[in-house]
Symmetry: C2
Amino acid sequence: MASPTENGTKARLLQAGRKVFAEHGLKNATIRDICALAGANVASVNYHFGGKEKLYVTVLQDYLERENRRHPRDLGVTPQSTPEERLRAYVRSFLLQTLGDGDPENERLGKLLIQEFIEPSQHFGEIIERHCRPTHNMLLDILRALLPDADEGTIKRCSESIVGQCVLFDYAKEAINRMHPDLALKASNIEHITDFIMQFSLGGIDRIRSAKQQ
Amino acid sequence: MASPTENGTKARLLQAGRKVFAEHGLKNATIRDICALAGANVASVNYHFGGKEKLYVTVLQDYLERENRRHPRDLGVTPQSTPEERLRAYVRSFLLQTLGDGDPENERLGKLLIQEFIEPSQHFGEIIERHCRPTHNMLLDILRALLPDADEGTIKRCSESIVGQCVLFDYAKEAINRMHPDLALKASNIEHITDFIMQFSLGGIDRIRSAKQQ
DNA sequence: ATGGAACTAAAACGGGCGTTTTATTTTTCG
DNA sequence: CGAAAAATAAAACGCCCGTTTTAGTTCCAT
């Protein structure tokens, strides 16, 4: 009977959906492409998932959960670690999730999330609350430890600066590849990039701290 | 006969194209919508522009040129200004272009550019070379002045950190609005945000400089 | 073995799309 | 003016899409 997530049509559809949605986005992907890739009938998506959009949101949520399991923001640290260590784990996790696992199928799946950010669907709210908000709160906690005397506005601004640096490698991946291919995020330089963002950010945070205190 | 860019069907189509493409993107926008908004026949886009995609790229290029004319990266500074002043003008221009001019029609037009970044069309290369590359080179020049002894790799990494901070307000506009609406980019706080990014970045650059020199 | 449920397959539906064709009106200019 | 050119309008074409329908198959408990 095979476990529900093994080789059945539904599992193959989900896998094909991952690939095709990642490649073409929600609107441009076609059920016919997905079914062809899955070796299934065009009606199967409706039968197993209830429609194209339902498959889409399933794929997206599944991707986010996997990614967070693979590269949690607090990998290798505890609440007792220094704020610097926790920040480094956070940045590193961000970049690792952006980089993907080398499988080109998953590599492009991040686009689905970007698409939601640019043109939110009706599921954006749930994604924010279930994924982004808790994750971002971890960063705010770290920054509160780094800037114990700062007001919340400053904390949030710092978090924006850090997230911005991380997110660029996802957002501008194609542009960086064309303009400065040596600067792109790769498995071989992810530690280097993490180090750089850490130095830059800690320098920025120090500057903010002294400006506030003076 | 009216100047070519006054009130003719072609001009109205371009204006309607701006609005509809901005609202729905290349694929989702329909020429029927565009023509209805322009008060023109469905065939008029093909007649005047040669097809939907041609109209799209016309709209996009036109938008970029306007935006760069309205908020050039070196507004109010000269090559003789201090690097800090030039960097501030650069960051401010970035944010002003992201913010738009208050006209909701133009405000959402930036999405077209973001879409190109996420899912490049065949015109992406031209956009990069004609718009992004020259603009980015200005930033690299500024950073070379700020870090005269740094290697090119460091210069580029710094530019990524700065661009990342600016781009976040475009990329994550919807998410920020939901999670921390007080932090969103608005006309009322654009100077404050510019100041913050400047301080954070100058702190980061200083840290990078001393790390390299030591 | 058999009846029913789960699943798969094939085909057609209904609608929206970009584009083309054809016809009509408006403009231009000798 | 009057004919050629430019511009608009109306209609139809042809394609692709998500979904539904209908029919057939497989599976499993009884």
